[in-house]
Amino acid sequence: EDKVVQSPLSLVVHEGDTVTLNCSYEVTNFRSLLWYKQEKKAPTFLFMLTSSGIEKKSGRLSSILDKKELFSILNITATQTGDSAVYLCAFIIQGAQKLVFGQGTRLTINP
């Protein structure tokens, strides 16, 4: 059965710290891995990763995929209180039109 596991489930840091969120997966017919930020209800798109070893970057956020070891990480540098949210990773499998989500990591940034 396809599955995705995120760690840690919860993380509390101080403003300005750097955090690394992990997402590991066991998926047959893997196509892409996505990261979403969920602040209240609507998940908002961050990155889509398809190729191994290529870093995607947007401001203070970056992400990379390792298809050999079957994991992805999301890095946030110089964290701000506005980064507090649940971060979800999800994958798409070939031939399927759905996202399969992990449980999420709840990140809290304290001032």
Binding site: I92, Q97, L99, V100, F101
Partner: protein, 114 residues
């Protein structure tokens, strides 16, 4: 519209009641998805439409759940004879052409069955 719109935002139903949740996708988006998110969990896929055709309903948990998109735009998720385990946030999402395109989510409907 500017984004995916869902209504109502909150719904409290008595056990056994039928409910209908509405989703208005982004104009021109061919694909529409419904997800169920229980407290503390990630969203779980329920069903997928391409225009008016329901191409995948493998995630619907029981025959009490029914979704439709009759004109290929607005969609309704109906839950009959609600039970307490149906309490969750129901998220609707749309994209231009399937998961290969960026998927936009609505704010969700929080359903509480009492």
């Amino acid at each position: 519209g500017a984004g995916v719109s869902q209504s109502p935002r909150y719904k409290v139903a008595k056990r056994g009641q039928d409910v209908a949740l509405r989703c208005d996708p982004i104009s021109g988006h061919v694909s529409l998805f419904w997800y169920q998110q229980a407290l503390g969990q990630g969203p779980e896929f329920l069903t997928y439409f391409q225009n008016e055709a329901q191409l995948d309903k493998s995630g619907l948990p029981s025959d009490r759940f029914f979704a439709e998109r009759p004109e290929g735009s607005v969609s309704t998720l109906k839950i009959q004879r609600t039970q307490q385990e149906d309490s969750a946030v129901y998220l609707c999402a749309s994209s231009l052409g399937g998961t290969g395109y960026q998927t936009f989510f609505g704010q969700g409907t929080r359903l509480t069955v009492v």
